[in-house]
């Protein structure tokens, strides 16, 4: 093995089967219940191309009769359920076909892992994880910082936007601004930011810190409320949220709430609004401050 790299922080993820049951349960002929984990979707899964067996009536848990319920005291109930849960957990681990293939393959209780950069097959992180699980690896090491993004997993936000975005809207409403007002102000303020950076780009000044990287956006909005949060960076004028000119995060925020900074000026003219960012000095990005219009 090569010497360990010292260029960043490594995060070791264990590829566990049935550790996070996220979907419906299915019956297994090897045990009472098997988690329908996403890792079980690998080609070595047991029921690929087949129909999973329908659970028999005897395996479906039934409610206890009133007499049985009344006869259980607290201690008996806890002892019974804890034993049952432990047995179910063991069954879930042992009956997963992927778990059987992977766990125990590393001798003498060791666990083997590879660096994420070593996996050259698979388009997404999910594919890579599945492949490693199939090959018998127990874990994977991620680098930080790295080029691996959250969107690389192919995950999709739930309906209505991510929780972060929903919280953002809630806070906008709490600040007295309707969604349309806040979006308009964002667009208006960010239009200036966009033009400013276009000028910087034309002048040969880099705009690499103003991209629309999704992960950076989500990190930005994931910051706790308080010092450094997005709402400390916002100025509330006349009950509406206004971005300061020159905020490095402006384009991130615009993209996050779905605003299109390219249309900011057009919309501001339609509504007879003065650009709230006009004439203000850049606040934080000295290096990219080029828009002395």
């Amino acid at each position: 093995m090569a010497a360990p790299s010292l260029c960043g922080i490594c995060v070791l993820l264990q590829l566990t089967a049935a550790s996070t049951p996220v979907g419906p349960f299915r019956s297994s002929e090897k045990g009472p219940v098997t988690s329908y984990d996403w890792l079980d979707q690998s080609p070595s899964a047991q029921y690929i191309g087949q129909q999973a067996p329908v659970p028999s009536l005897s395996s479906v848990p039934r409610p206890l009769s009133p007499a049985t319920t009344m006869s259980l005291d607290r201690r008996t109930f806890l002892a019974t359920t804890s034993t049952g849960l432990a047995a179910a957990g063991v069954a879930m681990n042992l009956t997963s076909p992927v778990a059987r293939a992977a766990e125990g393959s590393t001798p003498k209780g060791f666990k083997k892992a590879v660096k994420i950069g070593m996996v050259r097959e698979g388009a997404t992180l999910t594919d890579k994880f599945k492949l490693l699980k199939e090959l018998g690896f127990d874990g994977i090491e991620l680098d930080a910082p790295s080029a691996v993004t959250r969107s690389g997993q192919g995950s999709r936000s739930p309906a209505g936007g991510s929780p972060v975005r929903q919280r953002h809207r809630r806070n906008q409403r709490a600040a007295g601004a309707g969604p349309s007002d806040a979006r308009r102000d964002l667009r208006t303020g960010l239009g200036a930011e966009h033009r400013r950076n276009q000028k910087g780009h034309a002048a040969g000044r880099g705009t690499g810190d103003l991209d629309f990287d999704r992960e950076r956006l989500e990190r930005f909005f994931d910051r706790p409320e308080g010092k450094g949060s997005v709402y400390r960076r916002l100025r509330i004028e006349n009950g509406r949220l206004v971005f300061r000119r020159g905020e490095r995060c402006s384009l991130f925020a615009a993209a996050r709430v779905g605003a299109d900074p390219r249309r900011a000026d057009q919309e501001a003219r339609h509504q007879g609004l003065q650009n709230p960012a006009r004439g203000r000095q850049s606040g934080c990005s000295k290096g990219a401050s080029t828009g002395q219009r």
Binding site: M1, A2, A3, P4, S5, C10, L12, S105, T106, P107, K108, G109, F110, K111, K112, A113, V114, K115, G117, M118, V119, R120, E121, L131, L132, L135, G136, F137, D138, G139, E141
Partner: protein, 38 residues
């Protein structure tokens, strides 16, 4: 591995070598198993 056994270490081992496709990683896994078993 004998030295690790002396101190009772049974934990993670991570390969940090050049990467590759499924065939390569299968070979890496087999070689790591061989090392751990030695």
């Amino acid at each position: 591995m004998a030295e690790l056994a002396k101190i009772g270490y049974t934990g993670w081992g991570t390969a940090e070598i050049q990467g590759g496709d499924r065939v390569w990683l299968t070979d890496v896994a087999a070689r790591m198993n061989k090392i751990f078993a030695s």
